[in-house]
Symmetry: C2
Subunit: 361 residues, 2 copies
Amino acid sequence: MSSNKKEFINSPTFFVGVRGNGIISFGSGQPDLPPPPQIYKILPEYHSFKYGLTQGQINLRKALAKQYSGARPENFVITNGASEALDLTIRALSQKFGGGKLLLFRPYYYSYPFLVKLAGMEPVISDLKEGKIDLDDFKKKVKGCKAILINSPSNPTGKIESIETLKEIEKIAQKLGIYILSDEVYKDLIYERENYLLHGPYVVTINSFSKTYAMCGFRVGYLYARDKDLVNRIVEIKARTSMNTSILSQEMAYEATKVPRNQVESQIKIWRQRRDMIYNGLKDLGFDLWKPEGAFYVFPKIKNSTQAVNDLFYKYKVIVYDGVWFGVPGRIRLSYAIDTEDIKEGLKRIKSYIGSKKGKI
Amino acid sequence: MSSNKKEFINSPTFFVGVRGNGIISFGSGQPDLPPPPQIYKILPEYHSFKYGLTQGQINLRKALAKQYSGARPENFVITNGASEALDLTIRALSQKFGGGKLLLFRPYYYSYPFLVKLAGMEPVISDLKEGKIDLDDFKKKVKGCKAILINSPSNPTGKIESIETLKEIEKIAQKLGIYILSDEVYKDLIYERENYLLHGPYVVTINSFSKTYAMCGFRVGYLYARDKDLVNRIVEIKARTSMNTSILSQEMAYEATKVPRNQVESQIKIWRQRRDMIYNGLKDLGFDLWKPEGAFYVFPKIKNSTQAVNDLFYKYKVIVYDGVWFGVPGRIRLSYAIDTEDIKEGLKRIKSYIGSKKGKI
C-alpha cells in the first residue's frame, strides 16, 4: 500500500490514505472542508465505553426518523459508513433469496460489483446512455432480478437521474416486488434541482454523514428501510460481523443532525465554484466530459486511462482514478473535493502531461 | 429488539443493549470496570476527520508490532472489533478457496457457525471433551479443511487448552497447510498459567481492545497474520465493506497500547475474586460446572436451558445466555463481568428460580 515503491496501480485501494509529499489528489471522494465544529463539542466530557445497540443509538435514530416522512426509529440501522450499510443489505438479500441477480448501472461506483459477488449474488449490468439510465435496457434486464442498485447523484458520473425516470423505476420495482437499494450519499450535493428520494415498501435508502458533514474518518452511515424482515436480518448480521458502530462516532453524528440546514446548504456555493473551475479547466484543455449536476466528480474521456493513472501519479504526483475501476475504460475520475489552489495546480500538471503526449487526450 | 414485549428469546441479539430496569445481566461479555483513563485524554484536542488507511493507522500498527515477536506493521489490520477481524478473515479465505470447510470446536462462540456459513464456507464440528479439544477427533475431522478456528481461553467454556495440545495443532496445521484462526480476545484474562500464543505462517491471530481495556463500545480489534497474500485480500475486502476503522477509536486504542502492563494485570485479581464468587455460588446451589481458567464466563448445566433463559429474564429480570446458541442445549452461559453486588443479587434470584422448580436443575 506504499506510494514509494513503483508498484503498478490497478485498484483504488492503492491510494487510500496516500497524501502529502506534494501530491495533488483528485482521488478519494473526501471533502477537505472541515466538519461542523459542533460535532467536537461533546468530546471533552465524553466518558461512555460500553456496547451500544447493534441497530444504533436511539437518539440518533430518532433524529434521523424526523428527516424522512413517515419513518420510525426502528426503520434505521446505523452502520460503519454507507459502505457497511450497502454490504449488510446485499448480504441480507443474498441470505433471504439464496443468492440471485442484482441490477447495476454502468459506470458504477467501483465497490458495487465486488460487494455483490462477495455476498454471493450475481451482478446484471445495464449501461447508462450518456450518464443516464436507459429505461428500455433497464426494463429488459430487470426481469428476474431480486434488487436494483441506484446511485443518484452518481459517483463517478456526477449526473442525476430525472424525477420521471426515478418514479418509473419505483413503479416497476414495486410491481415486480424487487428491492431498490438507493445509495443517496450525495443527496445533499445537488447543483441543478431538488433531489427526489426514492421510496416505497421495497426501498432501502443508504446514506452517510461522511460527505454532507465531512465526517469520513469517523465512519457513520445508515440505512432506512420500511421492510421489517429485512431490517431484522441486517441487524442479526451486523450483530455477528461488527456489532454497534462506534458509540462515540454515533454521538458525533447525532450532534451533526442538529446542524441548521442553511449551514449545510451554504457549502453548495463552494462546491459549485469548484465544479465550474474544474469543468471549465478540463474543457479548455480539450477534454470531453459531462458537466456535473451533483456530487463532486468529473469523469472525462482519455485515451488509455490505465496508463494515464500511472503516469500522472508517478511522473506528475497527481492522483486520478481509472475509469476501468468503474466499469468503463477510456475515462478517468477526478474528485474536486479539494481547495481551489490544489485544483489549479492539478490542472497545470495535467496540462503538462497532455503536452508530453502532444495533446493527444 | 425491545425487552418490553414478551417476545420469545431465541438469539443473543435480543439482549444487546438491554439494561437498566433492575435487570441483572449475566449476558453480554462486557467488562463493567472502566477503561484506563489515559484513552480519554486525547479527546479535548481532537480535530481530525479524514479517511485513514483501510489497513489501520500506522502508529497503532507499529505499537502492536512491538507486542508480537518478529511482527511488522504490515502484518496487522485494524478492524471494527474482533468480530470484523473474524468476518473479514473468513470472507477472504472463502474468496481464496472458493468456499471450503472450516473446523470449529463445540461449544463455540455463538457467532462462529453463522459467520462461516454467511461467508459461503461449511462448518465442520469437533466436539470438545469436558471443554477441551479431543485430539483424536480433531485429527479425523481436520482433513480436507481449509482452516481451523480456535478460541482459548474459550467463550463460553472459560477453559484454556494445554500448551501441548496447541503445539500439536500448530504442527498438524502447518504440515497440512491449513490456516489457524486463533481468536485470542481473552488472552490477557488467564487465571491459571501464562498463555501460549499460536504462531506460524498460516496463523491469523485475532484480538481486541474490548476486553483487556474495556473499550467494547469503541469497536477496535485487529488481526495479525504473516501471510501477505491473505492480509492483502482482507484489506481489499475491508476497503469495500467498511473502509478504515473509526480514526478516533484507533487513536484511543493507540493510547491504550501505552498503558503499563501492571495496570492491566492488576485487574486479574478482581476477575479472580468474581470468578470464585460465582463459581462457588453456583456450586452451592447445586449446579454442575467447570471452574473457569480464563475469560469471564461460567457454563453450568441446566435442564431445558431455553425455558430457563426465558423464565429468568421475564420472571426474575436475570439475563443469561442459552447453551443452544453455543451449540449445546442443557447449559447456560453466565458472564461475570459485573460487580460483586450484582453477582450476589443475581445468584439470589437464580436461587429463587431453582426453588420454584423444586430444586430440579
